[in-house]
Symmetry: D2
Subunit: 329 residues, 4 copies
């Protein structure tokens, strides 16, 4: 991945998966029952990551499926305005809907999401709608775990990974686990492990790796021991305010601290982390620096109202790193 | 139906069917793609009618099913605060969602609704969740056509009608046709005619009667000729700004004009019409007066932002009638 | 209904519902696990009744849907060879299958059926595939309860009944209850009662009327008291070896005994009963005689291997009546 | 895989997938419409292979799901009588049915199957019903492609393969492609390639490899070139009467001829081929000999009425090889 000038590839990163609508409570610090007004934003982990890296200066594309309605058209325009290539945004013709997430912010520690994901258009992306030629134009394919939750989106992603491997495109797997839609813990673990084993970089929280392994209280040593027997070169495991760890196949372990911030809500932390981390790697920065970028970006987004509008510029991130206020430090 | 004092019945009207959420555009006179803020209201025709008659002073109850989430709890509290008995509001335990309606108001003439009705909790009310004892306590059972769109809600309503007939409770059928959810025009016509034939009063627009008969451009004469061969005593057919007609089995035809108003949007007109019309009948007013009440109430709601909050008081309605500004007059 | 010469109608009886395949154990008096060979017959209550009345000399037609495969073509040819009009047998184009019934005859008292009814083609007959013109050509429309078990077959039957009522065609409802396919006892009772209330003649076993009323141990008095408040003129309630009862709206109660026979299995008794009973009525015979025809025909079929091939000729039936060996007599 | 004496493993081969019922036409050389009698046999490729290797002397087990009915119990008893371990045959408790295959033999060249596979119990085997401990006791896990057609059976097989890889158990993939049940050619190719890439031995017809690659007219060179970039060590590609080819990762290509026989029908050829081929390998025979065993066994089964009962003994196979009558020779 590279944001540099001389380059035979058209994209630094192509993300595949869901793009949907967040309806964020205007009045917060209260239960949603008492919230009367909601503001609309683009949401969905891979969409946010595409927006995030684009805002930082990378060339990004998006593969996904949108409802044929006002929400779908809003999302397409937003992505396009953010500089993300939308040529592979398929419009659903079977009546599926845009996924919705109503956010509830009772307090910084108590956030929840009321999901509308039944028959969400993004889950109906078909394998035949994924183009090998398009994927071949990217340095990196970013895959989000939620897209594996249901057919045919599941098969579209498996196909995209097959294309990426054949075309020498790096696969980054953002675990992005959402319990909604998945039928069982067994099924989730099967597809998570199947994809993680075929990816070059895997990024997730410790809890998400436990989902991948279908067990409680897993250790980073076991996780990395298992995954390094397969394809991954780099594994990032996030531990919330306790910071994050990067493990390399060569045996290096690099830790980054979380930055102190005034937390409004926890939504969007993972997406902003991934976009800044991948941006830094694409810029040729070392892993330690990339982790700092990720942490700084996350600290900015959790202090703001939205997940997508809030994604920072490079200078915002570098200001946080320069300020080096470390959480739990 | 009677709002009077001495009465052996506990309720003037019990409505059965959906109660859901309207998300009304804060910024209107524009496409929804450009609307960024939405305000939350209770919606759904039978819920609005129950609220409407309760606000006018009748004793109302509601039979329905709510999602086990923040939206469901909001609806229950709103109905309860409006004076509607909520003892028969069943909480869904199977993960269904609250139905949503995002409203788009491009202009008074161009309004549309973006519906989220897939797997809506209200459609999962089961026949065994309907109580014959509860229905027996009402003068009138109000049935909304949308509840017939899918099993098991369809069977719950058929069962409720069976109970009403057995208990001597009048059945009012508000056609309330919403194309969403229905599989085919054939299926719609089958259940609409099946229920209309068993009802005492039928209320709908001319277009909705065409749906019931599964043909285009039907005439009021044919419609009433057909339905009076079955149970109905009173048939109300609404023709928008051209006013509405009531037909009685005895052969009377009464016309009412629509009232002039500054139309903001068309949503909610039918619900406010039905609630005021049924209120007036319950008060022992004659049909001509009841039609005026319906028209006046509709003219108030179409000039306001919401469908439920906007439902008027008796004095509001009577002021409009007294002002007698007639549309198309 | 009449089989007489001068007649402006084309059919004495049109049956609507399922036509499927019975696979009868060649080796019986043993569990099916030990049966290695099966013989193929046409099965399904309304198909058997159409074949039965045709064999007795009435002019019969059939409305149904067949799988587009070898079993479907076999059924069509069999019906046609039996003299039943097959012009309204729709061929399914959506990949549905012919329903199957493997019969197990452990002993005359212990018979069971292993049903294959998931996605059976007959349940996919659509209301728009039912012709009002065709139904108008019959004296009688025979409706079988199983066709009500699922959409869209359910709506096709409701539509056919609507046509029959509009065209002055008598509706005979053979309860034909099969637990398979139905979702709940509540749902079954709702549609059974809805159709029974609109029929001219209702025929079933005591157990089937209990299903219609959704209660255990119902009495004939209650059943007839309830149904005579609606459309039925004639109600036949069968009590197995204890014989059957016909109740008329005028208040007559006529009992018929069952005939003694060497019982091989109990399958097919109901279909043969209905076809002979309806034949006799069509011939202008009185109810008592018609009941005897039904009983005699049933006694013949239960002594034979199949349900359809075994349906008797008039002379077979009359020979049994003449022999007057009464079961439990 | 070894059938030898000193061995720390309990099973030579464990098969996973479907076990169902074949209903073979008693009267053949005619269309099924004219067939009145059917004989019942156990069917399903992996069940036949387990029976086949057991009959040849290997120790076999089976992992699958059976309907809770007479057909399910018949299958369990048949497998058990054939010496196959049935401890991992789960009984379905959700009302699914035994898969059926009615065979039609118009001529040796024109055979077809009428499948009943909707909601077949075998497709409902769940990943949590597959035991890692059980699989660890085998030399070889035989996977059949049809089990990948639908969830949750698909995930159960993916899980079994994960277990096998972790436990050092060889995976043999019998492509066994049946168009029925699969939703699309794209989806089929995705799961076929995913599993083939993880298998040690792959066996199929040229047509089945075309399905795996989702293209028409593929070449053996391309197929083996692709698969040898992944896990497979040995690839068998069958060309019907033109014989079969084995390709090794080391670059060897071994061809075997088909044996002349009086063909009754083509069903069962693949299963008998696989069982004899795998038996020979387990006996330590070289690949050329194993191919002959496969061909000889297939030539025997296609001349007999059933697929399972017809599976030969070792001496039958060796007699054919000794007779060396080669088809197309």
């Amino acid at each position: 991945m590279s944001g540099g000038a001389a380059d035979d590839k058209r994209f630094d990163l192509i993300a595949i998966g869901r793009a949907c609508i967040d309806l964020n409570a205007v009045e917060y610090n209260r239960p949603m029952e008492e919230t009367m007004n909601f503001t609309k934003y683009v949401g969905g982990s891979p969409a946010n990551i595409a927006i995030g890296v684009s805002r930082l200066g990378l060339r990004a594309g998006f593969i996904g499926k949108l409802a044929d309605d006002q929400h779908g058209r809003f999302i397409k325009k937003y992505l396009s305005d953010a500089g993300v290539d939308t040529s592979q945004l398929i419009v659903d013709r079977e009546g599926h809907k845009t996924g919705l997430a109503f956010t509830e912010i009772k307090s910084p520690e108590e956030c929840s999401i009321l999901m509308y994901r039944d028959l969400a258009a993004d889950l109906y992306l078909k394998p035949e709608e994924v183009s090998e030629g398009y994927i071949s134009q990217a340095h990196t394919l970013l895959v989000s775990g939620t897209a594996l939750a249901q057919s045919p989106s599941r098969e579209a992603v498996l196909k995209a990974i097959q294309f990426a491997k054949r075309q020498g495109v790096k696969v980054v797997f953002e675990l992005d686990y959402r319990p909604y839609t998945w039928k069982s813990a067994e099924e989730t673990a099967i597809y998570y492990s199947l994809v993680a084993e075929q990816s070059d970089i895997v990024i997730g929280t410790r809890d998400e790796y436990d989902v991948l392994e279908n067990k409680a209280g897993g250790s980073n040593e076991e996780t990395t021991g298992y995954l390094f027997r397969h394809k991954p070169e780099l594994i990032v495991i996030k531990h919330g305010v306790d910071g994050s760890y990067a493990y390399t196949r060569a045996g290096d372990v690099i830790r980054a601290h979380a930055y102190r911030t005034k937390v409004l809500k926890t939504f969007g932390a993972g997406d902003s982390y991934a976009s800044a981390f991948l941006y830094a790697l694409a810029q040729g920065k070392d892993i330690e620096t990339a982790l700092k970028y990720g942490s700084a970006s996350a600290s900015i987004v959790v202090s703001r109202h939205s997940s997508s509008d809030a994604l920072p510029q490079v200078e915002d991130i570098e200001a946080v790193i320069a300020g080096h206020l470390i959480a739990n430090g």
